[in-house]
Symmetry: C2
Subunit: 403 residues, 2 copies
């Protein structure tokens, strides 16, 4: 029986248009590297500019005749795939939560974080390939985005479980923004049965501990990495075999701070490259959970606790914003009453100077509009966190009822 050996490359592109340093040069480098090595499959994230995608497509047409860019959000999903094999089908799933629109300095909200799926058939084996990018972590000690990232990890796991049932092999590549021991990774791996290519690889070559964000890379922010002198591992290639197929990771490599043969890196993240050995097997193996069930119960419980913490915070913010909107409305009504009183000649003189009176009214209207929008936004956030919490509760019940 045929045993294809697709080598899978996963690059965290970080080609942020207008923002990144030396964007065009780096996109050019990525294109050169992909053309030189000719992988079977390249999964890229943060290719924000469709022009960059088109440039890459032209450059890589010879080696990767098939490609797909996932359109999403105002800026785009940033996700794209280049492949040596035909892409049979695609689907995009947008996560329901992705940070806050008013956190402009973080900007995640505007990027429409999603997971993209492509379906391919290589030597008769059906591959479901997922590429994604989860919400960034800006402060590990007090990570206000943890509940959102957990909702994303849960939705990612659910999306993979529900869409991969006709596949023989599942591959996931992406910047998950979680350390290997974080609850989100344990949840994703436990709930889907995906295995970590770094942990399973027969041979490994690259940064120590497989780190993909390292102080040695000139584009990383050094202060963020102070507690981690070796760097951190937040980019992953995960895989599993579903039916009648075995998958082994023969080799995993990362770049080490610079593009091969160059003095500058492609990206602020190191690229991860895996070579998988895939073989047909006689008997079919059923879909299994990744972790022994008692452990999985603990992981889901831990994740659910964090989601509930996020839910309480969101409810608190919804309440504060509602209260602020009501106060602004009261101030406006008071002003209207005062103005009417002045018009009716009740007040002896002009109680306020006209200009500050108008300015105060404008301020009150501004606060009212802003507080109302934020109240609505946090209402939506509460709903999505509640929905995830309910789904996790349902999953726990199902796990506990199993014989």
């Amino acid at each position: 029986s045929p045993s294809p050996r697709p080598s899978i490359l996963h690059l965290s592109g970080r080609a942020i248009r207008y923002l990144s340093k030396r964007r065009q040069e780096r996109v050019g480098l990525i294109g050169d590297a992909l053309r030189r090595d000719c992988f079977d499959l390249a999964l890229l994230q943060e290719v924000w500019s469709e022009q960059d995608y088109s440039d890459l497509k032209v450059k890589l047409g010879g080696c990767y005749p098939f490609s797909h860019y996932f359109h999403s959000g105002v800026i785009g999903s940033g996700l794209c795939i280049f492949s040596r094999f035909p892409i049979l089908d695609t689907l995009l799933y947008q996560y329901s939560l992705n940070g806050y629109p008013y956190m402009l300095q973080h900007g995640d909200w505007f990027c429409g974080k999603s997971v993209g799926l492509i379906v391919m058939k290589i030597s008769g084996i059906v591959f479901n390939v997922y590429v994604t990018h989860l919400h960034a972590e800006y402060c590990r000690d007090k990570d206000v985005y943890l509940p959102h990232r957990l909702v994303q990890a849960w939705e990612l796991a659910q999306f993979i479980r529900h869409t991969s049932q006709a596949a023989d092999v599942v591959l996931l590549g992406g910047d998950l923004n979680m350390h290997p021991e974080d609850v989100g990774i344990r949840l994703l791996r436990g709930w889907t049965g995906l295995r970590d290519a770094f942990a399973e690889a027969t041979r490994f070559e690259g940064c120590e501990d497989g780190c993909t964000l390292i102080p040695n890379n000139r584009f990383t922010v050094k202060t963020e990495l102070l507690p981690f002198p070796l760097g951190i591992r937040i980019d992953y290639i995960l895989y599993k075999a579903i039916s009648g197929v075995t998958v082994k990771c023969e080799e995993l490599k990362t770049t080490t701070g610079t593009a091969p043969g160059m003095d500058m890196p492609f990206s602020d993240h190191e690229a991860v490259m895996a070579t998988l050995h895939i073989q047909r097997q006689g008997q079919a193996v059923g879909d299994t959970l990744g972790t022994a069930e008692p452990t999985l119960v603990d992981v889901v419980t831990e994740a659910r606790t964090e989601v509930v913490v996020g839910l309480r915070a969101a409810q608190q913010q919804r309440y504060s914003m509602g209260r602020m909107a009501v106060l602004a409305l009261l101030l406006l009504l008071l002003q209207a009453a005062a103005a009417l009183g002045a018009l009716a000649g009740l007040a002896a003189g002009q109680p306020f100077p006209k200009l500050s009176f108008s300015l105060l009214a404008f301020l009150a209207i501004g606060v009212l509009l802003l507080a109302t929008s934020l109240h609505l936004f946090h209402t939506m956030e509460v709903k999505m966190l509640q929905g995830t919490e309910e789904q996790m509760r349902m999953a726990l019940r199902a796990l506990q009822e199993r014989p």
Copy 2:
């Protein structure tokens, strides 16, 4: 072998909180009817109020011990399911396009249109049950929402295809807002292989032609139905068997303008009730397309043409809004120059009265902000329409390449 006969009820709830006439009374009626008839499964749409859902849940606990409400958007998805059988798993998919936020009088944009999936196992047969509600049609002659509804129909079909591969039976109930011969319905049925319970039913009882929006219902808008004296059929129960199972629709019923035994209707839509006969079969049947392939090519081509029409319109609007933003910016700059000129004493007198000068500046700022937001919104719309058009092109290529 066991042959369960689940009777499936599909109700278009239309229990719009604060807006609907006599909402509470109607939700009460729906609860009474569901409790009296005790279906196996009830799919409801437009239950906007979570309080209504909670009330129904309390009322129906005896007959339908299992239920799920799909949380989504600011207002909610409006979608919920009541079931006699345990719900094993759920997933929600939000459509990427759903009308325009500035069409306040239509309001679809705020409702977060989605498709909800629940997984159930009845007598060992796995059911994937989908419930959805697509964008309304406000003007059939000049339907500006057609491209958005087609994107939704395509995403619905893709979501069903990708998530139903481990199911034995697929059921879809919903207000699709499309007439039976519309391109969106043909696309959905052709691309998924779903069959129309009305067309397949052995026995039918209810409104002529299976209409679900009829002039006889006191909550329908009569002028909208003038071209259709019998009414229109826009609510559907669709189904298909996937592997080793046959499904037949034994009976289909609709209400006829009033709730059974009452003088008022549940809803502005008639309820649709189906009784399906499901039987295990020896041999497994592969996943098939719903329509012969040459016809399906025509349907996808027709849908793609409409999506391209929408794409052109969206590009035009993006351009107009961009131009308007630039003009407003120019006006502001001109004003700033005039003001500076006046300050520097270049102008002999005061060229404009101060008040109208300030008002003009405020107006320009307002137009600039609004036009910029709309430009961004239409940019997103263009991206999503492009993405769908690309997916359809890929599907056509795949269809044409088949032997």
